[in-house]
Amino acid sequence: MTEQFEPTIIGFTCNWCSYRAADLAGTARMKYAPNVRLIRMMCSGRLDPTFVLRALSGGADGVMVTGCHPGECHYIEQNYKALRRFLLLQRVLVGMGIEPQRVKLVWASAAEGAKFAAETTAFVEEIRALGPLNWGKADDVPQTADDIQAAIEQGVDQKEAVS
């Protein structure tokens, strides 16, 4: 029997909200999938899309970006910039033949340890379902902007990522 695929996921967390949410999940001894490894940044606005590409090309099967809820950014509004970059990044990934749902944006406040844990586990399952990342191998690389949009809409409920 083939063994269950265990994805490797890199998580970029903001120092003020989601990293603390991860801390809280720990303090509360919540259990979640062990496949995510976190990198602490001061703000989700620090996320340079190349970090995501580096992670995916370096062996990660998925990348989770977490930040403060819209309107609650420690740096006033930088998470909106993260959101903008995230949406762009998805299009870039599609262009590269990578499923856009391999990156996920999650808002988690410092109080939302449970949400952090649940989202992490859910994301691991999503990536598990997608299978290992075959970087750049896909044949059906979308060509037109419409294709890209369609692929995004099919794959990711963007509204959910925003809310």
């Binding site: 976190l38 340079d48 899309p49 970090f51 062996g59 609650e72």
Partner: protein
């Protein structure tokens, strides 16, 4: 040069060691991470203990470590501890990294093999990163000992007085013509029923006459630049059209002014004022202001009655708004709250049914200095109500309006019940969802009101209507409610309804927050640095908050916060200088193309454009280190100390290290 890295794996008792094979991890690190420069890896029962710290300090000195990774708890807990230890041993504190293997590994996973492998990955990431860390120095900046307090309500007054009494100068800025805030409008204060003016006025006078306080009323902050210790604030002092040097506050101008207008602010629309006015008799300062919109001279070009009668020639129609530039070291925001607009709850009929009043209207109605001299009458101005219904939670605890509890409304409702009972003998009903009378002597007041015979109905009122269904309802306001304790719908006819409206953030709180560089919660209140342990500081150093600007609260709590904020400010002033975290962005001027993309990204206005050199520049003292500009720079000219691209990329690679056995992950 190759770094010499020490890795220290903490057992945290059994907290980590119970789930992670710490011995294996340490051995593995020493062997498999040697190529990154790991020269020693140790495990120890409690790394944060003094013995654990000494272990690290000893290695730094004896083995000549140039980098340290401590695999233990979250950096939010002990980063400072280990950095201090490194500093004691002569190593720059920013060359220490924490790998969180407790909160992120041992506490959240159960399989020991999997947890051990993940711990290794986390440590690999930290080691890869730490060898790219740079030695950093804290930024030290001197503190300007002057303080600005924005908002002259009771919280702001308290803050200003505390700091002024300690011997430092305060600028107290107030938007309205007088300080005093909402408290000046109230008649009595719960639970002791002290006369509000009697306890407030002496404080107002003290603030108005204090040699260390510069009072700037009828003024607003329009710009804030600078950073902790060195804020440059621009205050717009609106034209009063009254020369404060000459005015004696005699009140003749107000008496002679022929233009009477409804006073929507202080009298909550129930009373009148003149076009030139002081909002109330005990106003501080005593100088009136002229309301240009309503002044006959300004509107029609003739009148000048005030000028004619002023005995000191203080009226000055030529006055203009002034911009004052004030440097301060710290700022306290005590900007208060707005009352919830009860018209939004259209089923309560406020604005449609004349005898529905809001809490602030009732305050003015019951105030001896108010429009009816304290006589509680209905909207017709003469009839005394025989029955009064007081509705709690208007606009609060309601997802249709404001989600939160406004804290003061229960006690306010009880106070109203007492006053109505005492002054009119009317039958009083209080409609509440939950009676919240926590804090000293509050519940006793509830007992007292019960004893006086106020009738309590547990139920959120469904509607107030004038559509009579039965003959006894004709001409009355009918309060329809489920008496939840009786389990029955009731219709209670009354003469007068008082809505105990909730508090909400100032309509411009978001803009004010932006101006001062602090954030608001989803409800719109200013966000404190820590909800329990740092309630008056904000995430922006040097900016403090006090009173209702931070969230709904009563007078005692507002005063306490005002005092607390000044204690924090005094602490800063007395330190004379402040150290800033060196996590900052900087621009390599040679690489900068002058595209200005970063200019608009910074919410702290730390990035400016130098026209002459055609490059952007970051003020390190203003920069908060979020890194957004670093990520955005198309030329890669911006680097972030402490969170550089190299560090993060290295950490990514480290985290993705293979052959960790088992391959979870």
């Amino acid at each position: 040069m190759t770094e010499r890295v020490g890795v220290y794996v903490c057992h945290c008792g059994s907290n980590i060691a119970g789930t992670v094979d710490v011995v294996d991890v340490a051995n593995w690190a020493e062997e498999k991470l040697a190529h990154l420069g790991v020269v020693v890896a140790r495990e120890y029962k409690f790394m944060c203990s003094s013995l654990g710290q000494e272990l690290i300090e000893k290695d730094i000195k004896e083995l000549g470590l140039t980098r340290v990774v401590v695999a233990a708890c979250s950096p939010h807990l002990h980063e400072k501890t280990f950095r201090t230890a490194a500093k004691n041993a002569g190593l720059n504190p920013y060359l220490v990294e924490l790998a969180s293997i407790r909160e992120q590994v041992s506490w959240v996973h159960t399989d020991k093999a999997v947890a051990t492998a993940k711990a290794k990955a986390v440590i690999s990431g930290a080691v890869s990163r730490v060898i790219r860390n740079e030695a950093l120095d804290e930024l030290k900046v001197p503190i300007n000992p002057n303080t600005m307090v924005v908002g002259g309500g009771i919280a702001g007054i308290q803050s200003a007085l505390e700091i002024a009494n300690a011997g430092f100068h305060v600028y107290l800025v107030e938007r309205e013509p007088s300080i005093g805030g909402h408290m000046a409008q109230f008649d009595k204060t719960f639970p002791t029923l002290d006369c509000s003016a009697c306890i407030l006025t002496p404080r107002m006078v003290e603030a108005g006459t204090h040699p260390n306080i510069t009072l700037l009323t009828w003024s607003e902050v329009v710009n804030v630049a600078g950073y902790v210790g060195n804020f440059h604030v621009t205050v717009k002092k609106k034209a009063r059209f009254v020369n404060e040097e000459l005015c004696t506050g005699c009140g003749i101008c107000e008496e002679k002014c022929p233009k009477k207008v409804i006073d929507d602010v202080f009298e909550a629309g129930l009373g009148y004022r003149k076009a030139v006015y002081t909002p109330f008799a005990q106003a501080v300062p005593k100088f009136p202001v002229m309301d240009k919109e309503n002044c006959t001279y300004f509107q029609k070009g003739t009148c000048k009655a005030c000028e004619k009668f002023c005995p000191t020639g203080a009226i000055d129609f030529t006055q203009e708004d002034q911009l004052l530039h004030i440097d301060v070291g710290n700022i306290i925001l005590a900007t208060g709250y707005d009352l919830f607009d009860a018209r939004q709850v259209s089923n309560y009929g406020y604005g449609r049914l004349p005898n529905v009043f809001t809490s602030i209207e009732f305050e003015r109605l019951s105030n001896a200095a108010g429009p009816t001299n304290g006589t509680i009458v209905m909207r017709d101005g003469k009839s005394t109500p025989k029955s009064v219904g007081i509705i709690h939670c208007v606009g609060s605890r309601d997802k249709n309006f404001n989600n939160y509890c406004s804290v003061i409304c229960c006690m306010q409702g009880l106070k109203f019940a007492h006053l109505v009972h005492e002054r009119t003998g009317a039958t009083v009903y209080n409609f509440y969802i939950d009676m919240r009378t926590a804090y000293k002597a509050y519940d006793e007041f509830y007992q007292r009101v019960l004893e006086e015979g106020t009738l309590f109905v547990r139920g959120k009122v469904a509607e107030v209507t004038d559509a009579a269904r039965y003959s006894n309802e004709k001409g009355k306001l009918i309060i329809q409610v489920e008496d939840t304790l009786a389990g029955k719908q009731r219709r209670i006819p009354v003469d007068m309804v008082i809505l105990s409206a909730g508090l909400q953030p100032r309509y411009d709180a978001k803009d004010v927050g932006k101006l001062f560089g602090i954030s608001c919660s989803t409800d719109g209140w200013f966000t404190e640095k820590h909800p329990k342990l740092d309630p008056v500081a904000t995430m922006t150093e040097g900016i403090y908050i006090a009173g209702c600007a931070q969230g709904p609260k009563d007078i005692p709590s507002s005063v306490a916060q005002g005092a607390a904020a000044s204690a924090r400010v005094l602490d800063k002033i007395l330190q004379k200088e402040v150290a800033l975290e060196p996590v900052r962005a900087s621009i390599d001027k040679d690489s900068c193309s002058g595209c200005r993309i970063c200019n608009g990204l910074c919410p702290f206005n730390a990035i400016s454009f130098i026209e002459d050199d055609h490059v952007s520049d970051i003020n390190p003292a203003l920069c908060q280190g979020c890194g957004t500009c670093v990520a955005a720079c198309p030329a890669g000219a911006i680097s972030g100390t402490g969170f550089s691209d190299e560090q993060i990329m290295a950490q990514i690679d480290g985290l993705l290290m293979k052959n960790l056995e088992p391959e979870i992950a």
